[in-house]
Symmetry: C2
Subunit: 163 residues, 2 copies
């Protein structure tokens, strides 16, 4: 691999590591775990899973991969606080959505060339991107990897305060 | 910037964003906030700050920047659970250490060229690196950025469960 391929590869590996850790937590969670709040009064694991699925689903158009799969997650899990909207899908469906969204995304980004990574993401105009080339696709991936890590850290606390 | 420079730049920006958010939380925390546990029975903010400072201090030799500044943080904040060792420094000193370690690290990595990022980190041998060039400096930076994000997510919960 060239050095630019190695740099892009490191970012994709980092994303996959974080998603892999979340996959493990989510796959092994039962109904009770999904209903548990990370801290008393805080977000349920179900909310955080739906929230991350919605944010990752939005990465599909943002990175130019394709249309969103599950825009119906935004109301209950992205635009509003936990427990203000009915849960739109059950636990089995939510787990399937989590897996489908991340698999579609990860399969696509594994094929991106280094030059594809430094192209603009679709939420920035060509004019603004010409002024600030840091608003590229890799910046989106790294930002979303940090966001997922942040909620992973919270999920790792889940239940600890209620023992 | 070339595309490889843009890729390396995105990773450094991502690191600086996470550190900047932690800087804000840590600078504004008083004694009571430092003593507060993220969740009841969990790590204090003081422990997490010392823990992240120790991990980032270890990045100095790991990335070939220089010797460690504060190895004395490892016993109380890295190798052992919270509240099993006396706190080695007071709040003012801990805040100063946090700033000093990250400033030294960030100033150095801002100067790394793309080819410096894909060199091996010092915890991998030349033989092992030849077999697996993914064990490079950028992998360390991304891993530590995710680690810091994970604890940032926990600190953002701090106090919420005790309102």
């Amino acid at each position: 691999m060239t050095s630019e391929e190695l740099l892009a590869d490191a970012a994709v590996r980092s994303w996959k590591l974080v998603i892999g850790r979340l996959d493990g937590l989510i796959a092994s969670a039962d109904e009770a775990a999904f209903e548990r709040q990370v801290v008393p009064g805080g977000n349920r694991m179900r909310y955080l899973t739906g929230h991350l699925a919605a944010v990752h689903d939005r990465m599909l158009p943002l990175l130019g991969i394709g249309d969103r799969l599950y825009p119906q997650l935004d109301g209950p899990y992205l635009e509003n606080p936990d427990r203000t909207h009915p849960d739109p899908v059950d636990t089995t469906e939510l787990k399937a959505i989590w897996n489908q969204v991340n698999q579609k995304l990860t399969t696509a980004i594994e094929q991106f060339s280094p030059s594809a990574w430094v192209e603009r993401h679709t939420a920035v105009s060509e004019e603004d991107f010409a002024k600030d080339p840091a608003r590229n696709r890799l910046a989106v991936l790294l930002s979303r990897t940090n966001h997922a890590s942040s909620h992973l850290g919270q999920l790792l606390l889940s239940g600890k305060s209620q023992d």
